[in-house]
Every structure is written in structure tokens, then in C-alpha cells.
């Protein structure tokens, strides 16, 4: 799956003129991109897993590190698309545990649970702890908050403020976790809201433009396919605060498939689920779990390692399936 993301595309980074993900022009461009499946760019620093595995721990600089993105674990899902979502989650954990060198932390980009099933948060939290990686950071998906407006999720993972959105620094990289699945309105889309946008603006205000930024949230912050709700309504506003930075990596989940796009210094990446795949944008009547032949299932599920090498403008994204 990641074999075509080789480093020889480093020099090819077509930009999307004026595409901020929300205006009409940008919207149509994204639609075309999604509809045709055309990969605009695999930006600099996107290596194949073979190339990455050759860079062993001994070649790493002191400031280099990696982290893992896991997404859409949907613990509690028992549909035809995967009768053993717990089993494939455990396989993903084994993949994470086997990573060498060990990642610094794990980021879960939401839909931790399937419909807030009782005990599902515990299963995931304990599972991630079992990898021996010290730290796990979460943002919620709609499945994690819809039943109680986020009460349980925020009680567990909301932090001291209880709001859930957060930022932290690690070895010179500024990480930002955003929530775009609360306060859904009828007919509306994923949204961040004015309070969170104000916070974000202030959060990055004092940072130098050379600070590498990693933003993570459940629903894509860019317009993958608005017709299916695969977009964040006010994502463009959030991105407007980040355009001055030299390196911005946006990590999302929600759509259960890998998609990438580069806009100027911002690269967007959606991740595989560990539970079930979803259709490509616009294929079929709507989104939702897709049943594939049993022998193909693990080839469409996976986890992601993200590698930061000091001095490289872009982070290396390495997606691995469970096959």
C-alpha cells in the first residue's frame, strides 16, 4: 500500500492554488481529487517502509523520534465487515509493540469505541498501555461522544480543563489535538467552534515559524468529501493560523482509508482503521463499513508510524497494514 509513496516524489509537490478546504474553488478541487483518486503529491520525507526500516536506531540523531497514529478502533463493533474488531485491534497493538526503535508515544485519532459500548474505553486504554509505550494521547470521534455529549470521554481524557483539546511540545515539535465531533447540528458538519479556534490562535501565537507543527483530529480538517460529511466546516479557519509555519502535518481518521494531500507547507494524511474499511469517496450510495473477503481484511486495516528527523521539512509517514 505504501510502496508507491517513495522518496523519488520528493521534488513533486503540486500546490493547490487558493484551496483552503472551504471556499467553493477549493471545495471543487478537493472533490475532483477525491473522486478520481488522483494522488496530488506524496511530499518530501514520505518514504516507503523498506527505506525507513533501513534507517536503524544507530543512525538516528538525538533529536529524532517517532510516534504512532492509531485510529478508528471501534471496539464493540460486531458487524459483518469485521466480526473480530477486538482481534484486529490486538494485532495492531502487536505491530506497535514490535516497532524498533520504540515510538515516543501513541496518538489515537478517535472512534476509540463503537457507539460508546460499555467497557470499550477501558479496553483501548489498557491495550495501549500494554505496548509499554509510556504515553497515549486521544482525540474523540463521534462514536465516542454522541450518547452523552462527551461526558465520559472528557472525564477520562479531557485533561485538567475538561475541554479535551490540547497541545504539547516534544523535542521541538509542537503537537495540537483538536476536537471536531462535538455539538453537531442537524444538516451540519464536523466543527471546531469559536472557543476552540480562539484557543488555537493563542496557542500558536508565540511560536516561531520554523517550529514543526503536528495537528491531529478525528474528522479530516480538509475537504475530502463534504457530501458524506468528510470535512470540518471551520477547518479552514484553523489552518489559516498555521499557514505561516514551515512544516505542518495534519493527521486525521474517520474515513478508514489512506489519503494524502499537500497544500503549500501543510500536508494532510488520513489513516486506516484497525476495525473495518470504508468506501472510497463517492463510491456507492454512502459511507459505512465495507465487507471485503476475509483474506483481504487485514490488508485494508493498519497503523501508522510518523518519523521526525531534525532538519527535514516534512515528517516521514509510514503506513503499515495488518496483512
Amino acid at each position: 500500500m505504501n510502496d508507491d509513496m517513495t522518496a523519488d516524489r520528493d521534488s513533486q509537490s503540486p500546490q493547490v492554488p487558493g484551496g483552503d478546504g472551504v471556499d467553493r474553488r477549493g471545495f471543487l478541487q478537493c472533490m475532483a481529487w477525491a473522486g478520481t483518486g488522483l494522488v496530488w503529491a506524496a511530499g518530501g520525507g514520505v518514504f516507503s517502509s523498506r527505506i525507513l526500516s533501513q534507517a536503524s536506531a544507530s543512525e538516528r540523531g538525538a533529536s529524532d523520534f517517532s510516534f504512532v497514529q492509531i485510529s478508528d478502533t471501534h471496539i464493540g463493533f460486531k458487524g459483518e465487515a469485521n466480526k473480530d474488531a477486538l482481534g484486529t485491534f490486538e494485532q495492531a497493538l502487536a505491530r506497535i509493540t514490535a516497532l524498533d526503535p520504540a515510538p515516543a508515544f501513541i496518538i489515537h485519532t478517535g472512534d476509540i469505541t463503537h457507539a460508546q459500548k460499555a467497557g470499550a474505553f477501558d479496553i483501548v486504554a489498557e491495550g495501549l498501555k500494554g505496548t509499554k509505550i509510556d504515553r497515549a494521547i486521544y482525540v474523540p470521534g463521534e462514536n465516542d461522544v454522541f450518547a452523552d455529549g462527551g461526558k465520559e470521554y472528557l472525564g477520562r481524557f479531557g485533561g485538567p480543563s475538561g475541554r479535551g483539546w490540547q497541545s504539547f511540545d516534544y523535542k521541538g515539535v509542537h503537537f495540537i489535538g483538536l476536537i471536531n465531533v462535538l455539538n453537531f447540528k442537524a444538516g451540519g458538519l464536523g466543527n471546531l467552534g469559536a472557543d476552540q479556534l480562539d484557543w488555537l490562535k493563542k496557542d500558536v501565537e508565540g511560536l516561531g515559524s520554523s517550529t514543526p507543527i503536528v495537528v491531529f483530529a478525528h474528522v479530516p480538517l480538509w475537504a475530502v468529501y463534504p457530501k458524506w460529511g468528510w470535512v470540518t466546516d471551520d477547518g479552514g479557519q484553523a489552518l489559516s493560523f498555521l499557514r505561516r509555519f514551515g512544516s505542518v502535518t495534519v493527521l486525521n481518521g474517520h474515513i478508514h482509508q489512506i489519503m494524502q494531500k499537500v497544500e503549500g507547507n501543510i500536508s494532510f494524511h488520513t489513516a486506516l482503521s484497525t476495525a473495518f474499511p470504508q468506501p472510497a469517496p463517492g463510491v456507492g450510495a454512502g459511507p459505512g463499513p465495507v465487507k471485503v473477503p476475509a483474506e483481504e481484511l487485514r490488508g485494508v486495516l493498519g497503523v501508522r508510524a510518523v518519523n521526525y528527523v531534525q532538519g527535514k521539512s516534512r515528517l516521514a509517514i509510514v503506513d503499515s497494514t495488518l496483512a
Binding site: 444538516g187 451540519g188 459505512g288 463499513p289
Partner: protein, 140 residues
């Protein structure tokens, strides 16, 4: 368009039972009309019988949720009708009034939710996981 025929989609198990509505066909009139009753009364009785026999209690309306859509996004019903929504997707969906008059829990595959509308009005609702899914019930 509504039905997706791609072979790799899950084949939905239509497990939910179809709730048939039994027509109540004039059992109350089983006693018949005796010969010594006035003709007029007998005519009225036959009239009653015909009405009862041809207008069974209508089945309670059902709205299916499939492919992230309510299949009857606008439904008009008389006061006192109970509407049932049944989820045929593998994604979880909800049926939540925009004014929170009714609010279903998360509906898994083949799970349903019913609400009886007792007052006239227009009731907008949506899925709180997938807010692009909207519908309305018009109660007259």
C-alpha cells in the same frame, strides 16, 4: 441510486420481523341482523360492516435507515401515530429531534426506535453521529 449493488458491500441480514397489522374485520357484528328489526337499522348495520371491513387499522409507519439516509425523509401522519425507525446500516445511527422532544439511543444494525406523535406540528430530526442525515415528521 439508493440501493448500492457493489458486490463487496455487506449483505444486510433482514432479521427484524415484519410486524403485520391484523385487520379487525367486523367481529363485533358477528351477531348479525335479526329479521324483525326495522329495515333502516339493517341497512345501517351493513354500512358499518362495510366500513370496518375495508378500512383496517393502517400499519404504523416505519422509516428505514440505510446508506446514511432516512428512506422517508418527510413523513406526514395523523395525530396519535407511532413512527418506528429501523437501522439497516452497520454504522450506528440515532433519531434525535432538533428540539430534543424525542431522542433515540444509538441504534445498531436492525435495532429500532419508536415514538408516538400526540400533537400536530412539524418535527425535525437528525442523526447525532452523522448530522447530514436529516428528516421530518409532519403531524396533522
Amino acid at each position: 441510486m439508493k440501493r448500492d449493488c457493489r458486490p463487496n458491500r455487506a449483505v444486510w441480514m433482514w432479521r427484524s420481523a415484519i410486524i403485520g397489522t391484523t385487520a379487525l374485520c367486523g367481529l363485533a357484528l358477528a351477531g348479525g341482523v335479526s329479521a324483525d328489526q326495522p329495515v333502516r337499522a339493517a341497512v345501517l348495520d351493513r354500512s358499518d360492516q362495510r366500513v370496518v371491513a375495508t378500512a383496517p387499522v393502517p400499519p404504523e409507519p416505519r422509516i428505514q435507515i440505510a446508506k446514511h439516509k432516512y428512506d422517508r425523509p418527510t413523513l406526514t401522519i395523523p395525530v396519535g401515530t407511532t413512527v418506528t425507525w429501523v437501522n439497516k446500516d452497520e454504522d450506528v445511527h440515532t433519531v434525535v429531534s432538533t428540539t430534543l422532544i424525542f431522542r433515540s439511543p444509538g441504534l445498531e444494525t436492525d435495532e429500532g426506535y419508536s415514538y408516538r406523535f400526540t400533537k400536530p406540528g412539524v418535527y425535525q430530526y437528525f442523526c447525532t453521529l452523522h448530522p447530514l442525515m436529516t428528516g421530518k415528521v409532519i403531524v396533522k
